[in-house]
C-alpha cells in the first residue's frame, strides 16, 4: 500500500474523538479496582472490629492521608506516563517527600519511646503478613490500571508499569486500613511501604511485557 493511499483511507472516515475518554477510563479503573479490593478485604480478611473506635484517633488519619497522598501522586504519574511526550512533573519528588516525611516521623516516634517499647512500635502484631496482604489487596487495582494503560500509549513501559504498581499498592494499602489494627508510624514507614513496593516491582516487570503497542 502506498503511504499516500494510507493517508487517504485514514482521513476519509474520521470521526470526532472524545478527549475525555482517557480520564473516564482511569476513574472507572480506580473506582472498580478499589471496590473489588474492598470486597476482598472485607470478605477475606474481615473488617477491624475496633475500626469505629479508631476513627477518632489522629494516627488513624495520619495513616489514611499517607496512603491517599501516595496514591494520588502515583496516579498523577500513571496518567502522564500513558501519554506520549508528557513530563512527569512533581509526582516523583512528591512521593519521595511523603516517604521521607513518614520516616522522619517514625524516627521521632522511636526516639521518644522507651527502649523496651521500640520493637513493638516497629513490628506491631502483623508485620510478618502486612506487606503481602497489601500486595494481595492491591492486585485488582493493578490489573485495572494496566488494562487502561494498554488502551493508551505509554512509551516508557517499565516506568508506566512501575507507576501503575505503586499507585495500586498505595490504594491497596488505603483499602487495607479497614482491616489493619496497626497505628504506629514506624509500622507504616516500613511495612506499608514494603507492601506498596511489591506491586511496584511486579508492575515494573510486567510493563515491558504487557504494555507494548
Amino acid at each position: 500500500m502506498k503511504t499516500e493511499d494510507l493517508v487517504s483511507s485514514l482521513s476519509t472516515s474520521v470521526e470526532a474523538v472524545d478527549l475525555r475518554l482517557p480520564s473516564r477510563r482511569w476513574l472507572l479503573a480506580l473506582a472498580g479496582g478499589a471496590l473489588i479490593a474492598f470486597l476482598l478485604t472485607a470478605g477475606l480478611l474481615k473488617l477491624n472490629p475496633m475500626l469505629w473506635h479508631e476513627i477518632s484517633k489522629p494516627m488513624f488519619w495520619v495513616r489514611e492521608s499517607y496512603c491517599a497522598v501516595l496514591g494520588a501522586l502515583g496516579f498523577v504519574a500513571v496518567v502522564r506516563l500513558a501519554r506520549p511526550g508528557s513530563q512527569l512533573g512533581v509526582a516523583p519528588t512528591g512521593i519521595a517527600i511523603a516517604v521521607i516525611a513518614m520516616w522522619v516521623f517514625a524516627a521521632a516516634t522511636l526516639a521518644a519511646a522507651s527502649p523496651q517499647n521500640r520493637a513493638r512500635l516497629i513490628l506491631g502484631d502483623t508485620a510478618s503478613v502486612c506487606p503481602f496482604l497489601i500486595a494481595l489487596v492491591a492486585t485488582p487495582v493493578l490489573i485495572a490500571l494496566l488494562w487502561v494503560m494498554r488502551s493508551l500509549a505509554p512509551t516508557r513501559l517499565r516506568w508506566a508499569g512501575a507507576a501503575s504498581g505503586f499507585t495500586a499498592g498505595s490504594i491497596g494499602a488505603l483499602v487495607y486500613t479497614v482491616h489493619c489494627p496497626e497505628l504506629a508510624a514506624p509500622f507504616f514507614a516500613i511495612w506499608y511501604l514494603l507492601g506498596m513496593l511489591i506491586p511496584t516491582a511486579i508492575g515494573a516487570w510486567l510493563g515491558p511485557r504487557l504494555l507494548r503497542w
Binding site: S8, L10, V17, L19, P22, R83, S86, A153
Partner: protein, 212 residues
Amino acid sequence: MGWLVGQLHGGQAPSGDDTNSPSSAQYQKVQMQLIEEHLRGLILQSLAGDAAAYRIFLDELMTHLRSYLRRRLSGLPDELEDLVQELLLAVHNKRHTYDPKQPLTAWVQAIARYKLVDLLRRRSRGDVLTDPLDEDDQVFATTANDAAEAQYDVAKLLRGLPDRQRLPILYVKIEGASVTDTAVRTGMSKSAVKVGIHRGLKALADRIRSIG
C-alpha cells in the same frame, strides 16, 4: 530581528550581536513554533471530526516523518516507507491520547521515538543504526544548512506574505495583541484575522519546508 525572536521566546531582551539576524538555534526555535502552532491547529480540528483538516495534518506529518526517518534509517530504504506507515497508523490509533494542553510536536516525537526504538530492538541488528539515537535529533528539526537558515529569518518570511496574513501574525502571534484589537487596528473582521493567521502560518510552514 532579535526583538522578534525575543518576543516569541519569553520576551527576553536580545543580546547585542544578534540584533541583525537570529542565530541558527533561534531560527530553528521560531520555525518549530510555527510548525507546532500550525499542526496543533490542524489536529484539534481533526479531533473535532474535520476530515479535510485531518488529511492535511496526516499529509504534512508524513513529510516530516519521512525526512526524520531518512536521517535515522539511511541504511534501510526498504524499511523507511513501512515505518512511515506504521507511525501514521500509530498516531491515528492513539490520537485519543493527545492532550490539547501539551505540545503536539512533543507528542509526535515521543511516538516516533518509541516506534523507532521498537523497530531497532525487533531487528536487533547493529547496522540499522547509522548513529546513536540522541535527544537532539527531532522529527520537526530542519535539515537546512546554516547558511540557508541565516538568509531566511522570520522578517523575510513574513515580508513575503500579503498584508491580510502578515499583519494578523505580526500583531497576534508576535506582539501578543488580542484578535479583537488586531481587528480594530487593521480594519479587518475578527474572523478574517483568524483566517489570515491560519493561512499565513500554513504558507510560512510551506515556505520553510521548501527552504529545508
